[in-house]
């Protein structure tokens, strides 16, 4: 304790910035060596070293020669996939999946939150929430398993309709299946954040509105919508920023050989062409291209949030 104090006094007396920093580090070495080190090492090893690995996007990668020994091909991989009609289709599939997913999937939790907020009995509301949140905990595989069972030619949906469509083999059905099952699974859970924002809506304001004879629509306009508008806006901008990062797991689990025309997206293509076919360089180039579009989108969306949010961005 006493040595700490004397060090502090010395620093206060004179000595540069660097000296100050060194004294701080010596006093608080535990913060560096014990607290932040594990996270730092994991980040450097598993995040930054692979970033260096993107060099193979510009190489004809040969596993035996390694990243630095393989033949350099410049932008050849990029030229190849950017001029390929297949790639354009995968890009469009990815975009359509996320844009339509956003269009349908984004309003659903907001609607649920408004409805839940209006349920008069707290007990009933809690029971409904319990049901709505449950699908969120089902795994992607089980979800897609349920979807496949219900939609199989002899499954429940076909029995109800009296038909024997094989939905899983129809490219035109894939997006609907993907988006609808996404809403089924995620809308309840996603409504939590709006429910929380709605519960912050001033009770006084709402009571005043009721006394003034405002009906439900007017109350929503005057009290509830203003309470969640910012949340809605930020959630929306974040979703737009993530438009190119459609997850691999669910799309892959809903793919069949026959619906690939609409179900092959960039992330599944990167996996197949890279790990299954062994075209490491080409696959990395496609992945890098996707990442760059994503970064540009995220950064521009962050700028928009900053403008709207008094200089405070998401990151």
């Amino acid at each position: 304790m006493s040595s700490t104090q004397s060090a502090t006094t010395k620093t206060a007396g004179g000595g540069g910035k660097l000296h100050n920093a060194l004294v701080y580090v010596r006093q608080h070495w535990q913060l560096y060596a014990l607290f932040i080190l594990p996270a730092f090492v994991l980040t450097i090893v598993f995040r930054y070293i692979p970033m260096g690995g993107v060099l193979i996007a510009f190489e004809e990668y040969n596993p035996f020669r390694g990243v630095f020994g393989s033949e350099w091909v410049g932008f050849a991989h990029f030229e190849r996939f950017l001029s390929s009609p297949d790639f354009m289709r995968y890009l469009m599939n990815t975009l359509k999946l996320s844009v339509f997913g956003l269009l349908w999937g984004f309003p659903a939790p907001i609607l649920l939150a408004f409805l839940l907020n209006r349920v008069l009995s707290t007990k009933l509301k809690q029971r409904i929430q319990l049901i709505l949140y449950m699908p969120n905990f089902i795994s992607v595989i089980v979800l897609c398993g349920i979807v496949r069972i219900l939609l199989s030619p002899t499954g429940l949906i076909n029995m109800v309709l009296g038909t024997n469509w094989n939905f899983m083999t129809m490219p035109e059905a894939f997006r609907t299946i993907y988006i609808a099952s996404g809403i089924w699974q995620g809308a309840g859970w996603a409504s939590i954040i709006y429910t929380a924002a709605l519960s912050n809506a001033s009770k006084d304001l709402k009571e005043a509105a009721v006394i003034d004879g405002a009906n439900i629509i007017q109350q929503i306009r005057a009290v509830e919508w203003p309470a969640i508008r910012d949340t809605v806006l930020i959630q929306f901008i974040m979703s737009v920023g993530n438009i190119m990062s459609v997850g691999f797991e669910k799309a892959y689990a809903l793919q069949t050989d026959l619906n690939l025309a609409s179900s092959e997206i960039i992330s599944t293509y990167v996996y197949k062409v890279g790990l299954l076919d062994g075209n490491y360089g080409f696959s990395t180039a496609v992945g890098l291209f996707n990442t760059i579009i994503n970064v540009v989108l995220l950064i521009s969306m962050n700028q928009i949030v900053k403008k709207l949010n008094d200089g405070k961005g998401m990151y």
Partner: protein, 301 residues
Amino acid sequence: MAKKKASAFAKLPAEDKTIMVIGYVILLVFCLAIILPMVYIVLASFVDPVTLQNTGLTFDFAKWTTTAYERVLSNSQIWTGFKNAIIYSVVFTALSVAVTLLAAYPMSRDDFKGKGFFSLVFMITMFFGGGLIPTYLLISDLGMLDTIWAIVLPGAFGVYNMIIARTYYQGIPRDLQEAAEIDGANEMVYFFRVLLPVCTPIIATIAMWNFVGMWNSYFDAMIYLNSASKQPLQLVLRSILIQNQPEPGMVSDMQSTAERAQLAELLKYATIIISSVPLLIMYPFFQRYFDSGIMAGAVKG
């Protein structure tokens, strides 16, 4: 309760009543859409496979059978899957919670020198990454292919969870820390004895997310693990539910291809139920932390 509800409803103007009724109906439809498929799968899992395929669900109990459950439960691969999923999820949760909570502490302190640098290093990974192949090559070079480390280490530090924990720490009154420092407590003592005990809601929330996330994922296991003995539950489920390839022992005693196909279909129902039981048991425990989840989610916004 019901009376109060009814009277509150009765007081509403007529047009509001209409809106309320429509709202309740939408909620009801949504809840039914969630429950009915689940109920259907539970019931159908007991129906004789031939009947199920030809006429669908039946309440003629003479046609019910537990054969699907017997076959799935007597298959060792399912149990191996459960065992591996528990190991991976528990190890991953313990590791990631420890690393994340530790890292969040210096990042929560205003006086931490180098905060800007570490912030930048961590934030960049939220935008940019090496992608599939470079990460795969790294895991391979490190000799971690087909080991548990390929599954639990790369994602052990989550920047997003760190931000949530950091924000939570910052909400803890500074007085606590000052009092501890006057008492001569160093960082370790303060962190473990003072800070962590008051942070249990956020710790539980992060632990729950990480556990559920690991339990439900299959991608990393699919690309990094080859041995059947190391597959987590989701991969075993994948071969039964998605690839239509039940574990060999489950259907091999059936004579015709048609019988095998019908049985394989029924096995899916039982598999879904069996694999969901742990989740249903844990659901009430998770539920306690939904509220802190809300709070943490609000950080994002």
